[in-house]
């Protein structure tokens, strides 16, 4: 029955002759690498050719007269990484940092700024600020709920009137018209914490009209208020009612009280997706988060009206006891004073890098007394060691989890920032892919490239294919590493060999070229 002619070797299929065609001209040819195109497919060996700001060919490309040819055999060639949750906005707008070296060293080619509901409302002005000194990387903007709320309602704990809500919707609309990719919120932080879900839905609807996305530092990642699960459900509800994709930013189970809850988060997201609600998450690959005394320890009710009002309350004997009692509870949620490490405290940099427990002991104070004292001086930021490795891995394995840094871009050597600012992407590839095998390299790269492009509807980025923008990362998987530590974070990542952004090399043989080909992306209008 089967055509029986010979079981010997046979050529699979032929019809039209293949002509080599006219030789295309390329500017740059990355030859012989292991190409991961950004999808979940395993690598294939291929050449990647670039002309202008676009990829013009991927395949076995033969000779390339006129092109600069770089041998990348043995290296992985992937789309440039897209950091969907970055605090680098202010840094990128400053002349000394706009080259974005710590990001480029991680292979990042695009960052999403204005996360957690923070950042400027006027995105047109922000775009100009960002472009003023040139940009090392591409920047995508979000329109920030928190800033809009402060603009319209101040720091108060109240709901907007219908006129105020209209005004807030109008500000979201302006942001979306200015090219934002969506609405960000930080319902954990005051005064956004005073927002009802309905308010956020009303704003998300405006973002949805433009095809935008809703991303949120959720109301509670622990057991502070509504609890982690209700906070996840709130994102799902906003995505469903606002009819737009919802993203749980830097997903985690924060503190011993909720360790192990990652499986419950997964279950909620999967169930929502099965019901047709488009929900995703992003994550940085560390067991510590970054926070501050105010947001991590001080109860929200005490924050109404802003910093001065809060400090005033801590001085009122009647309120102070209640605040102190709740701060002890919050410290317990964070796992105790030896799990909080100062990263930036301008009045006294000597405490940076030390834990709250250590500094309190050296001063003969209890940790809450110390925290209140530091609040009087403006507050301090810290790294909070509050995650469980199993939860980090469970969330990392989900196909809907993107990668993000949640990192700042600060002057080299200033403070003791969270090492995620320097090491996120190499850490995920080195520690979680190469060393521990928690996920494989194609899956990891997908979470950094085509998945964010798909979620945020970024056209022609996050993939390596002809016609896409030439944002490319080339790295040595065996050598990739993140030397930045919690004690000594100011160390650039290693192992990134070439980085191309919009067709221009910004890193060449491991060195920065100082080129600034970055653009401020504008959400495409269909």
């Amino acid at each position: 029955m089967r055509s029986a002619f010979g079981r010997c070797l046979i050529v699979l299929g032929l019809i039209a002759p293949v002509s080599s065609g006219a030789q295309e001209r390329y500017d740059l040819l990355l030859r012989g690498g292991r190409v991961l195109d950004g999808s979940g497919n395993p690598w294939v060996r291929a050449d990647v050719a670039i002309r202008g700001d676009r990829i013009s060919a991927v395949g076995a490309l033969g000779d390339a007269p006129g092109a600069r040819v770089i041998d990348v055999s043995g290296l992985y060639v992937t789309p440039g990484f897209i950091d969907v949750h970055s605090h680098a906005g202010p840094g990128l707008a400053s002349p000394g940092l706009s080259g974005a070296r710590p990001l480029i060293a991680q292979g990042i080619s695009t960052v999403f700024v204005n996360p957690d509901g923070g950042g400027p409302i006027d995105l047109v002005a922000q775009r100009e600020d960002l472009l003023e000194d040139g940009l090392g990387v591409n920047v995508a903007l979000l329109t920030p709920h928190g800033s809009i709320r402060i603009e319209v309602l101040g720091m108060g704990d109240r709901d907007p009137s219908s006129a105020e809500l209209q005004r807030m919707r109008e500000l979201v609309r302006r942001g979306m018209e200015a090219g934002a990719f969506g609405l960000s919120s930080g319902l954990f932080y005051s005064p956004a914490s005073f927002s009802e879900t309905e308010e956020v839905v009303a704003l998300a609807e405006v973002a949805a009209e433009f095809g935008g996305v809703y991303t949120s530092h959720i109301r509670d990642e622990s057991t502070y208020t509504v609890g982690l699960m209700a906070a996840v459900d709130e994102v799902i509800r906003i995505a469903r009612e606002g009819e737009l994709p919802g993203v749980i930013s830097h997903a985690k189970a924060l503190g011993p009280h909720v360790w192990g809850f990652s499986t419950a988060i997964v279950e909620r997201v999967e169930r929502a997706r099965a019901a047709g609600v488009e929900v995703y998450a992003d994550q940085y690959p560390y067991e510590a988060s970054g926070s501050g005394i105010t947001s991590a320890l001080v109860p929200r009710w005490a924050q109404e009206g802003g910093h001065e009002a809060m400090v005033a309350r801590t001085r009122e004997p009647a309120l102070r006891d209640r605040i102190v009692a709740e701060m002890w509870e919050n410290l317990d949620r964070r796992g105790g004073a030896d799990r909080l490490q100062f990263r930036r405290f301008e009045p006294d940099p000597s405490i940076e890098g030390k834990t709250l427990a250590t500094v309190a002991e050296s001063r003969g104070m209890d940790p809450i007394q110390l925290a209140l004292a530091l609040l009087e001086q403006g507050g301090a930021s810290f790294v909070s060691f509050n995650m469980n490795p199993g939860d980090v891995e469970t969330l990392m394995r989900q196909p809907w989890t993107m990668t993000s840094t949640d990192g700042d871009l600060v002057p080299f050597g200033e403070g003791v920032p969270h090492p995620r600012s320097y090491g996120t992407y190499p850490r995920k590839l080195g520690r979680y892919v190469r060393d521990q095998g928690v996920i494989d390299v194609a899956f990891a790269v997908r979470s950094m490239t085509s998945l964010p492009a798909s979620v945020f509807r970024i056209e022609d980025r996050g993939v390596l294919r002809p016609g896409a923008y030439a944002d490319v990362a080339v790295f040595d998987l065996a050598g990739i590493r993140d030397p930045a530590t919690f004690q000594e974070p100011h160390q650039l990542a290693e192992g990134m060999v070439y980085v191309v952004i919009n067709g221009e090399l910004v890193m060449e043989a491991g060195r920065f070229t100082e080129a600034r080909p970055g653009r401020v992306l504008h959400r495409s209008r269909q």
């Binding site: 079981r7 010997c8 699979l12 032929l14 019809i15 293949v18 979940g40 497919n41 196909p399």
Partner: protein
């Protein structure tokens, strides 16, 4: 696209890799292009608000998909855009058409009564890669033909002639080289011979796809046979595909982990190795291939019959056949699917037939082999191995199926059910894979491996090979005894922008094309 898509069409689906001999068959039917969108309309068709599973492995996203001519032209929120036709896809998954990387359907597709490819369309298959296992219609010369049945290496001039044929095939648009080293006479080929031919395919960016020398412990063993593919891929510098990968028979059950380890190790070293798989625990083959020792086949069928008649050799054949039958798990694990000389045995096991004939299974085997070449289904896999292999990122989906007249013989159910069965059993029931990963293994992964440009993905610029289905409705109700049932649940199929299935009914549209690979593995 630098790869021209020939205007001729075959059947409802595209043939990938048909040989020159197929050219006459290709132009079975010419379908009209739909009239293009008029000035009032932006698109020919918009699929509204489906869950788009775009082939990449990313989770679904909700979007509109617009088609103009034979291409997808927009994906996103298309708002008030207008089209000649709109379909509410909100209850459906929108996926790229499936690509079957190992199909025996070419002969059927070349037949007027079967060229519609309905059993394939019902599975959501829009592209098949044919001529697998080193078989299929060929244009090889007499030398190769003469050499083919003999157990000897080619002389240098013969090897040069074979290389010339491979070169010609590749120049004429081949996607790669296939081999079947398990069956005679492919089994007589040395690795060196294959490497030298694979090098020729590599010059043109071809792929090497092999039914490996041993999927069990017949000769070199399954692990060494996988190593051989790795070696061919490494030494020839091309992509190797272990086709219908499996651990065949109780003696190698559990070896899937070793196969994974070998392939992962090779990939770490930079060798491009992939596999494809059908999601069943039974394979299909010939009784002779499965049970008769290879040495008895040297010289071809007449030589085999002579040896069977030789009183000295027959006992040796019997002894070796008994060992081979044990490798397959015994006579009750072999079921006849086709035997034209005696169709009454179709659907019965070798144990049944032997009992009816009051023979032992080996005697029955030799008698049947003398009458003809019975085709069998062989229940020889452990589902745990199937699952282990399925989970690997480099494993594509294939049917290994035929395309036969409905009701003829008792073919392996993979012919009708492969793709829906994989989703039904391994995505929905056993939750081994996500839907997105399963679809990836059926779409963008094969497109990547075989360098099929602009297919296997949903994005603007790609060909409009598209499916609409509700995963919960996917089903294949056939069985190994009663396989002639079409798969169910694929609601709509577009092939090159033409509607081939509408609301679960075939339109009769014949929109398939024979594809040629891109010159560089890329386009634009």
């Amino acid at each position: 696209m630098s790869a021209r898509a020939p205007a001729s069409r075959v059947g409802g689906i595209r043939l990938l890799g048909a040989m020159m001999g197929c050219v006459a068959v290709v132009a079975v039917s010419i379908a009209c292009h739909p009239t293009t969108a008029s000035a009032q309309e932006d698109y020919d068709l918009i699929l509204r608000r489906g869950r788009v599973v775009d082939g990449s492995g990313n989770p679904w996203f909700r979007a509109d998909v617009a088609i103009r001519g034979d291409r997808i032209v927009a994906v996103g929120d298309l708002g008030n855009a207008r089209a000649r036709e709109e379909i509410d896809a909100s209850a459906f998954v929108v996926a790229p058409g499936f690509i079957d990387t190992h199909s025996h359907a070419a002969q059927g597709l070349s037949t007027p009564g079967l060229s519609h490819g309905r059993p394939l369309l019902a599975q959501g298959i829009t592209t098949v890669i044919v001529n697998p296992d080193g078989g299929g219609p060929v244009d090889l010369g007499q030398q190769a033909r003469a050499l083919a049945a003999e157990n000897r290496p080619p002389r240098p001039d013969e090897l040069e002639a074979m290389a010339g044929l491979v070169r010609r095939g590749m120049e004429d648009g081949g996607f790669g080289l296939s081999s079947g080293l398990f069956s005679a006479p492919g089994t007589f080929a040395t690795t060196e011979e294959i490497v030298s031919l694979a090098r020729v395919a590599a010059e043109r960016g071809g792929v090497y796809a092999s039914h490996i020398r041993d999927e069990s412990d017949y000769t070199v063993g399954v692990v060494a046979a996988v190593d051989e593919v790795i070696r061919v891929a490494r030494d020839s510098g091309l992509r190797g595909v272990v086709t219908h990968i499996k651990a065949l028979g109780p003696r190698v059950w559990g070896y899937s982990a070793a196969l994974v380890q070998r392939i992962e190790g090779a990939r770490r070293e930079g060798v491009e190795v992939f596999a494809d798989q059908y999601p069943f625990t039974a394979s299909a083959t010939g009784l002779v291939d499965a049970v008769i020792p290879r040495w008895a086949e040297v010289g071809g069928r007449d030589s085999l019959l002579a040896r069977l008649a030789d009183p000295e050799l027959r006992p040796r054949i019997q002894a070796d056949a008994a060992v081979n039958l044990a490798r397959r798990g015994g006579a009750d694990r072999i079921q006849f699917r086709s035997h034209p000389p005696d169709r009454s045995i179709e659907g019965k096991t070798l144990a049944d037939v032997a009992a009816e004939r009051r023979m032992d299974p080996i005697e029955a085997t030799l008698a049947l082999a003398t009458d003809g070449a019975p085709a069998i289904v062989s229940f020889n896999m452990l589902e745990d191995d199937v699952v282990t292999l399925m989970k690997q990122r480099w494993v594509m989906t294939c049917s290994d199926g035929d395309l036969v007249p409905m009701g003829e013989g008792v073919p392996h159910p993979r012919t009708y059910g492969t793709f829906p069965h994989k989703i039904r059993r391994y995505v929905l029931e056993r939750e081994i894979l996500s839907l997105e990963d399963a679809v990836r293994s059926m779409t963008s992964l094969p497109a990547k491996v075989f360098r099929i440009d602009d297919r296997g993905v949903i994005r603007p610029g790609a060909y409009a090979d598209l499916l609409l289905f509700d995963p919960e409705q996917l089903a294949y109700e056939g069985t190994y005894q009663d396989p002639h049932h079409l798969a169910q649940g694929i609601a709509y199929v577009w092939v090159n922008g033409h509607l081939a299935t509408a609301n679960h009914r075939f339109t009769g549209e014949l929109a398939g094309r024979v594809l040629a690979p891109a010159a560089t593995g890329t386009t634009r």
